[in-house]
Point group: C2
Chain length 132, copies 2
């Protein structure tokens, strides 16, 4: 409950790794996987995903890899989490509405308030706050 997924953690680890290098330099999936002891295949997918989201830029071929593309300071954590994992919320009831309780629920409004607090907290931090 209320945990980040590995995918998000791997993404952040990789971004921090890239952030720590010179601007133009390139990091390969293998390099990162070995360095941080992350299963290479799953990291590969994560980086492909980040590339599709234009957060990093892929470079093919030998000596290839990825380098930062987006300004990490411009991406707040809600946006980041949603781009990596999809819709965010304390409960599905806000964006899904398939909830069996929805017609009877007596806590929907208060939960929504708490959810708003949580979102606003994450929105107040950028990816760079994590990778610095």
């Amino acid at each position: 409950m209320l945990k980040l997924t590995r995918k998000v953690e791997y993404a952040l680890i990789a971004l921090r790794h890239m952030q720590g290098k010179e601007l133009e330099s390139v990091s390969s999936t293998k390099e990162i996987a070995v360095r941080y002891n992350i299963p290479i295949e799953i990291l590969a997918k994560t980086l492909q995903h980040l590339a599709k989201e234009n957060i990093i830029e892929p470079i093919n071929g030998p000596h290839g890899g990825y380098r930062l593309k987006a300004q990490l300071g411009d991406i707040n954590l809600v946006e980041f989490f949603e781009r990596v994992e999809g819709p965010l919320g304390l409960s599905d009831c806000f964006y899904d509405s398939n909830c069996v309780q929805i017609d009877y629920c007596n806590i929907r409004t208060p939960i929504q308030r708490i959810n708003a607090n949580m979102m606003s907290m994450f929105r107040s931090m950028s990816v760079q706050d994590v990778t610095n």
Copy 2:
């Protein structure tokens, strides 16, 4: 990711239900399950758990059920979540330390900071803020 469990939602629904009734009056599992369309067996366990935590008080026999025992305003949400679901944290790495990355991780400290923010946000709200 970052969602409440049903168990927590059911607990909050039940507590709010009880809060809305007269102080001495008793609510049975069945009454609540029917009212909010919650599977009765799972609600039963949830209420038994709340009773063990001294948050509600069980009353056996016909016309029995549960009634509020604790002051909901005195229980903050971190405490509540932990009493219902166990240890809370954005990542297991803080209380578990079985993480494979732990020796190499470059985001542990920043994540811990974010985690502290989240905890403090939930700590600033009481169960009553949800059930009122």
